[in-house]
């Protein structure tokens, strides 16, 4: 259910509250999977909307007090929607999300994965204690699942490769050169083709509506200003903020611990090296100062560049998002596009780094366990071979 945001336009009547609740729900939650049955009830949707807005820092308390049955509050909901629209490129993001993709796409980053998948249905968790063997079982199941995933992925790539190579020369766009699975399906199956056509049609309609919205946007904001002015002023409120969910707090602790460990390691290394350096350099003359300053400047620049990689907005230097797969013999297509070899190289280095990190963690655990157990008299710790 795609909320036709663009189509609504600067309508002057007050919208009905339930529609606005639904709209906000779909805007705020990531695109749900194709199963419409997973949608929560309208009351639950309203609650989730409130919680999400709160966690994003929505500044008006009136929203909290709205009844969840949709009987009133359309003005407040409209304000909430405008707030979301004003804060970021909401429209573009939504359009890009539900865009009809004609090609075989593969994401080159893992950003999307970090957002938790699936419907936000709270799981009924047994509050009882579990045996650790159950955890082992779950872990094994997870590993098995990953193994299956990799095999399926290999098969998928093989099939894609075949489709791409068989349809070489069929595409009207010469820079692409071959059909994707979607396009080949389109040709094979007329019914599917008609469906695709309909989706393209509706996407074009959406784009036109978005352009229309753009044209009238200024009027909308001026109008919202008046709406805001017409609201009764909010009483000054105590500064309470939403509780960071338990998982978030745990994450914070983990990162804090890691950073602490990193800093201590660095400190140890730096101290020894600096001492050694000072001992060597002690007798050097003033000519040394110039080169010293040059080095400092170079290092400062490097580290600033490094910092930009995680600063806000700095991640765009790396490739992001889904890319359309295009098969081309090495060297023929010199046009724009990411080369698979580069991505592979980057992934390999990242993999090596992660493997090292995992090994190190496991080694740490091993040492810790050995220490804990080894302190006991009368026990011998026999490790499996190779550990």
């Amino acid at each position: 259910m795609w909320p036709q945001v663009g189509r609504r336009g600067p309508s002057r009547e007050a919208q009905k509250a339930p529609a606005l609740w639904r709209l906000l729900f779909h805007v705020l939650s990531p695109r749900p999977a194709d199963d419409a049955a997973a949608l929560p009830t309208p009351e639950a949707q309203a609650r989730l909307v409130k919680s999400a807005l709160r966690s994003q820092g929505y500044p008006r308390r009136a929203l909290v007090q709205l009844p969840e049955d949709g009987s009133q509050g359309s003005r407040e909901l409209l304000l909430a929607l405008s707030w979301l629209l004003a804060r970021g490129p909401l429209l573009e993001r939504l359009l890009a999300q539900i865009r009809v993709r004609l090609g075989d796409e593969m994401p080159v980053c893992e950003c999307e994965v970090l957002a938790s998948p699936g419907p936000p249905a709270p799981r009924v968790e047994a509050d009882g204690c579990v045996d650790i063997r159950h955890l082992q079982w779950l872990m094994g199941k997870l590993r098995f699942g990953w193994r299956n995933l990799i095999t399926s992925q290999q098969e998928h790539c093989a099939l894609l490769g075949k489709v791409h190579s068989y349809t070489r020369g069929c595409h009207s766009d010469r820079s692409l050169g071959h059909l994707s699975v979607t396009e080949a399906e389109l040709l094979r199956d007329p019914e599917g083709g008609r469906q695709l056509l309909r989706r393209l049609e509706s996407e074009n309609a959406r784009l036109e509506a978005a352009l229309e919205w753009r044209r009238r946007e200024l009027v909308f904001w001026q109008w919202m200003d008046t709406v805001l002015d017409a609201c009764p002023p909010e009483a000054s409120q105590p500064t309470f903020l939403p509780r960071i969910p338990e998982r978030g707090a745990g994450e914070l602790e983990l990162v804090a611990r890691e950073l602490q460990a990193l800093q201590e390691e660095l400190q140890a290394v730096v101290e020894t090296r600096r001492a050694a350096w000072e001992a060597r350099v002690g007798g050097w003359g003033p000519g040394w100062k110039a080169t010293q300053r040059a080095s400092e400047e170079a290092v400062r620049q490097e580290l600033t560049a490094l910092q930009r990689a995680w600063e806000r907005g700095g991640g765009l230097a790396q490739p992001h998002g889904p890319h359309r797969l295009v098969r081309s013999e090495a060297g023929t297509l010199g046009g724009p596009g990411l080369r698979a070899t580069e991505v592979i190289k980057a992934l390999r280095s990242r993999e090596a780094c992660l493997e090292a990190a995992l090994r190190q963690l496991q080694g740490q655990c091993r040492q810790e366990l050995a220490r804990l157990v080894g302190a006991l008299p009368g026990f011998i710790w026999i490790l499996p071979p190779g550990c």
Partner: protein, 477 residues
């Protein structure tokens, strides 16, 4: 048994991971179904290999009466080859389309099968070209030469004409028996071309409106509106989403810093200049780490302060990050060029590997944080504690799960598989300490003892009687 809070948290983590994995698998299965179906059309001879799940697919096949099932297609292949050869002979004569040749020429377009001779596909496209040329003034397609590679290349008509291209796309489609549905698809492939062209124009317009002069007025109106909204709210920074985002950034910072530190430590300085550079870098890294830590402590303090919140709890997943790939990409999709199937497979499996490692590391940290304290606090040295230690070891220290596909891996892969075998054993009812013979890994290494074991000395008074009898302890398998 683990304490309740610990159980709950760990269960939640593992279940999340399992759900994520299952979701990926579902999406992959969906794409696989489509691709398999497509290729079955083109490679009927290879159907058994491509079709492990006949169940859900047969429903989809039953739909159009014009589609022929694969055994029949196999029989038709023989006819097809003969028909094509005949058509080639006819075509060589460059005759105008005879009615007699319509039927075989249609059939000839039906299946492009690389399983048969390499000459078949170019002929097919030649037929297609001829067919299209019947309906329009003849355009330059003469496919008399077999492509050197022998791959089924379906060449298009000449580049110049737009509509001709569309027709060409139609002509090149290799689907079986759509005889009675000929006319319907003729419009279909044309229209998407037109639509995508129109779409490109619309996307371009949309992105151009973002940077117009009128946008400035709109932007100021927006900021003014936001300011007004914010007026009753003193601290605008610390909402939960912001904190979460910042913690994520700091986590990334930590891993990048660590990576850089590793690079510096392993680098071998050639001269004193490089050595000094290295030293300065490390000092710089230390300073940055300190800054990040400080920031994190600020965040933590802020979080602690505002723990009270009469707010409904809901687990609406955080809005997806700004991973749109940048403004330009919204209207022209970025391309990823690959040159061989092997490369594509490597790319995909590496992606999955990295994601898997990420998750494994995360789980490792969570498990460490929860389980290690348990081991240290539970001092009684009874059998439960031994079992706990054993289980903790198998969860935390083993199972460097590896993809055993790469050539030239040394026995480490097999070794790691043993670890995986150890934990895979956990998928059976109990991680029985005996009976490790069930699972053979891909390399044929017998799964080793997946668990650590304890050997209490005979004269120890802590020798556990009863439950953990020597067979459990020794763990020789």
């Amino acid at each position: 048994m683990l304490p309740a809070g610990c159980s709950r948290r760990l269960l939640a983590e593992l279940r999340d991971a399992l759900d994520a994995c299952a979701e990926r698998q579902r999406q992959l299965e969906r794409s696989l179904r489509v691709s398999r179906r497509l290729l079955r059309v083109w490679e009927p001879a290879e159907t058994p290999a491509l079709e492990p799940t006949p169940g859900p697919d047969t429903n989809e096949e039953a739909r159009p009466p014009a589609r022929t099932p694969s055994p029949q297609e196999l029989k038709e292949l023989e006819l097809l080859t003969q028909a094509l050869e005949k058509a080639v002979r006819v075509r060589k004569g460059l005759s105008k389309a005879g009615g007699r040749d319509e039927a075989p020429s249609r059939k000839s377009r039906s299946i492009v099968s690389p399983a048969t001779t390499a000459s078949v596909p170019p002929r097919a496209s030649g037929q297609a070209g001829r067919r299209a040329s019947e309906t329009k003034p003849p355009r330059g397609v003469r496919q008399t030469t077999v492509p050197a590679k022998g791959l089924p290349e379906l060449r298009l008509l000449s580049v110049g004409d737009q509509t001709c291209k569309a027709r060409g796309a139609q002509a090149a489609k290799p689907e079986p028996g759509l005889r009675d549905q000929e006319m319907a698809p003729s419009a279909a492939p044309q229209a998407p071309e037109a639509f995508t062209l129109k779409q490109k124009g619309l996307w371009a317009q949309l992105s151009s409106t973002e940077t117009g002069d009128s946008m400035d007025a709109t932007t100021t109106a927006k900021t003014q509106f936001l300011r007004k909204m914010q007026s009753g709210w003193p601290s605008s920074r610390l909402c939960a989403a912001e904190v979460e985002a910042e913690v994520g950034r700091l986590r990334k910072a930590c891993s990048l810093l660590r990576q850089r530190m590793g690079e510096e430590l392993t680098a071998d300085p050639v001269d004193w200049m490089q050595e000094y550079h290295c030293l300065l870098t490390l000092e710089g890294l230390q300073a940055i780490a300190g800054q990040c830590l400080h920031r994190l402590q600020e965040l933590r303090a802020a979080v602690m302060e505002h723990q009270l919140a009469p707010w409904p709890e809901g687990r609406l997943p955080s809005a997806p990050s700004s991973c749109g790939g940048g403004a330009d990409s919204i209207w022209s999709p970025q391309l990823l060029l690959y040159s061989s199937t092997q490369e594509l497979q490597t790319l995909a499996s590496l992606r999955l590997r990295v994601a898997m490692l990420d998750e494994q590391i995360h789980l490792e940290k969570v498990l460490m944080a929860e389980l290690l304290p348990l081991v240290s606090t539970q001092e009684p040295l009874g059998p439960p504690w031994l079992a706990l230690c054993r289980a903790v070891h198998s969860l935390l220290c083993e199972g460097a799960f590896r993809l055993a596909r790469r050539a030239g891996r040394d026995c480490r892969a097999g070794l790691a598989e043993r670890g995986a075998g150890g934990s895979l054993r956990g998928t059976e009812a109990l991680p029985a300490v005996q009976g490790g013979e069930g699972l053979r890994t891909r390399r044929g290494h017998p799964p080793g003892r997946g668990s650590a074991c304890f050997v209490p000395l005979p004269n120890s008074s802590i020798f556990p009687a009863g439950l953990e009898s020597p067979r459990g302890i020794i763990g020789a398998q």
